[in-house]
């Protein structure tokens, strides 16, 4: 309960190299962090060159660390102990700080002091010794190694206070949210698409999810599952837009035309057409999919070729060369796996023919599509009837029309 930490230090990633855009990137992180810290009103954000400090002010360190680890653009986080800039305070704090970490039988360390406040009476070099020697006296396991230490205790001496830290916790990395544009993500309910979405977001894309459902052929739970997945992704974005597209009519129109082995191809093309329309409405410039080369019939190269021609937007496939096992590991890491493997069927597994084609013929596909009556009208209708919801990590469903859906789970019951 009595946390040894007073602050968190957030370090920025590769974008700091990018001269002109740096300001925009930092601003994006700041906005993101500020939104995530809303539930912790006492925590204060201090911006500095290339890094952010969060003054915890008594707010709990663990949950805050957990949410901040999800901020794209932040590569690592260090919990910081703060003390007065007086020699005795600094050495006492250092002993206390190191005493709380788990030391092995022999642990190598070094002190790296930096005197930012030049009026402090001891130089950085002197401070390394002045802090190091009481540590060596107090902890017999410690051994100095300036080249390759297991613990590097950093001490930053500023005018009013001194910061001590040594741990570095890996954070999400990548580019700050939305700094590389906006894209639509085809979100099924499977393992791959949430991972693809995460990968795209990590590279600075603002992602909006599009889900196709075929009630009553798919269950309400399948839709709930996708909402939950979007909710997990929104943990990395603060909030996420989810477009729920009614797909039953389109899907059933592809059955019974004697082209069963092409059903998946037709379906995927229709999905891309609808998504392109939604992208246009939302100002998005690409479509992200969870395709992984060769994984299923619709993800062979010939299939992707035929399917992809249904849209003019660039198709981004972050997982295209990733092995299934690695995708599963990533899904576990970002927290979507357990939800993805829930057993509710989505529309892609419906009406699946015994032997879907792995090598569709573009001309035949185009010809058949042209003979289907009312396909365009059906697509228009699906776009029109698409329901858009904004998903936040705490799953409060706000419909875009401003209508608040009453949740079954009343928080006051718990």
């Amino acid at each position: 309960m009595n946390s040894p930490y007073d602050m968190l230090l957030l370090r920025f990633g590769e974008f700091t190299l990018k001269g002109k855009n740096r300001n925009r990137f930092e601003k994006s992180i700041l906005t993101h962090v500020r939104a995530l810290l809303k539930p912790y009103p006492n925590a204060k954000i201090l911006k500095e060159y290339g890094r952010l400090y969060i003054d915890l002010n008594g707010e709990p360190v663990t949950p805050i660390l957990d949410v901040l680890k999800k901020v794209f653009g932040v590569v690592s986080i260090s919990p910081v102990k703060v003390c007065r800039s007086e020699l005795e305070d600094i050495t006492a704090a250092a002993v206390d700080f190191i005493g709380r970490s788990e030391l092995g039988e022999q642990t190598t360390f070094k002190v790296n002091a930096r005197r930012v406040w030049k009026a402090f009476p001891h130089s950085s070099q002197e401070m390394n010794h002045l802090i190091g020697s009481p540590l060596l006296r107090n902890f017999s396991q410690l051994k100095v190694d300036v080249k390759n230490p297991e613990i590097e205790l950093r001490v930053e001496i500023r005018e009013n206070r001194t910061y001590l830290f040594h741990e570095s916790i890996e954070a999400a990395g990548g580019f700050p949210l939305g700094t590389n544009g906006k894209a639509m993500l085809l979100l099924s309910g499977g393992i791959d698409s949430p991972v693809a979405g995460f990968s795209a977001m990590r590279r600075g894309l603002e992602v909006q999810c599009v889900h196709f459902y075929s009630y009553p052929f798919t269950s309400q739970q399948a839709k709930e599952k996708v909402i939950e997945l979007a909710g997990i992704l929104s943990g990395y974005a603060g909030q996420i837009k989810l477009h729920l597209v009614p797909f039953t009519d389109i899907q059933t129109s592809f059955t019974g035309i004697g082209q069963d082995n092409l059903i998946i191809t037709f379906m995927r093309r229709a999905m891309l057409r609808i998504t392109s329309r939604l992208a246009e409405q939302e100002g998005a410039q690409a479509i992200v999919t969870g395709d992984s080369l060769g994984q299923v019939a619709s993800q062979t190269l010939p299939s992707m070729n035929v399917i992809g021609r249904a849209t003019e937007l660039p198709l981004l496939r972050p997982l295209i060369t990733t092995d299934k096992q690695n995708i599963i590991e990533m899904a576990k890491k970002i927290g979507t796996y357990e939800t993805s493997i829930l057993p509710f069927e989505d529309c892609c597994t419906l009406f699946v023919p015994k032997s879907p084609t792995t090598n569709p013929n573009l001309r035949i596909v185009q010809k058949v599509e042209a003979t289907l009556p009312g396909l365009q009208a059906k697509i228009d209708l699906a776009v029109e009837q698409t329901e858009t919801v904004i998903i936040t990590p705490d799953m409060q469903l706000d419909s875009e029309q401003g209508m608040k859906k009453e949740s079954v789970v009343k928080e006051e019951w718990f």
Binding site: S219, Q220, E224, V408, V409, K410, E412, W413, F414
Partner: protein, 383 residues
Amino acid sequence: MLYFDHAATTPPYPEVIQSMSEIMAQHYGNPSALHSAGEEAAKLLKRAREVCAGALSVSPKEIVFTSGATEGNNLAIKGTAMQYRSRGKHLVTTVTEHPSVYESFRQMEALGWEVTWIPVGPDGVVNAEQLAEQVRSDTVMVSVMHVNNETGAVQPLEKIGSLIKEKNHRVLFHVDGVQGFGKLPVELDNWKTDLYTLSSHKFKGPKGAGILYIRQGVTLFPLITGGSQENGHRGGTENVAAAAASAKAMRLASAAQADFYHKMNGLRNILFEKIAKMPEVMLNSTDSGAPHIVHFSYPGLKPEVLVHLMEQQGFLISTKSACSSKSSEPSRVLLKMGRDKDAASSGIRISLGWEHTENDVIQLCRALEQSADKLRSITARRR
């Protein structure tokens, strides 16, 4: 009437009653059903599980809803022994466990398992080193209660957890946490606990509901089969309203634990001070015990007499534990703490709760003193 039997059961929070009745009325669907009524019930159950997990800082997957601690303890002990019988047939527990633990081990003994019963000191506390010494390579589980239900004695769980795992890292550690949750800090991770039993009505939740924490990676042989509910650990339609109400009570109790400790500690000190001054009385609780239980022996008289006298004056107190208070046998727990038969047959338990004020406790002490005076004159005449 002032109720001083919180270790037996507690008056539920009004919010708990509200959750329970509203959910019973509005969401009667079976969580396993496909339709929307079932789906909504499943959502409530899921949320309840999340809240319970949050109160223990564990994962929702590790929470199993039970009908209470008796079931929880039975499932934890027999379920572990049977599931891991190929690892060995040796079990370790203490001599002062709750009957639901004690009897479960006795049954396993009858079925051919070997149980080592660890003694306690006069304060009711086990010696962690002595306990860990009994752990062998074929020991499957160690079960130790957090807080004793009769005396409030607190067991050194952190020490036990680390010593037994050092001796045999595969041994599973079960903690009967019934009397400790909401009263003392609970640190499952620190204690290296694999299984942890709770009963909702002991912390102002509903009766007929409890929680068993099963650490991820541990599997139990189910005792109640006939459905895949609760991850296969326990068949039967889930009691959604009770699960939600339990979650509510758990959240409230967990948030208020430090305050509870502080307040009860103050009240208990008053009790300790007054009771210590009564000449015939022998305290069985110590100030290192849980803050809400004060237990003493009043040798020479059947304890029921004092309980009845106190009730006449408006105070409900208890003899032994509620589960065995109707038998007139001496208390197993007190005997094992080294008390003689006379002292062990005359135990009185006062257990405190949120609604008590300092004044209530002073009134209680006064009534105790008066009752003792009255009894002293009667017993003196009889002698």
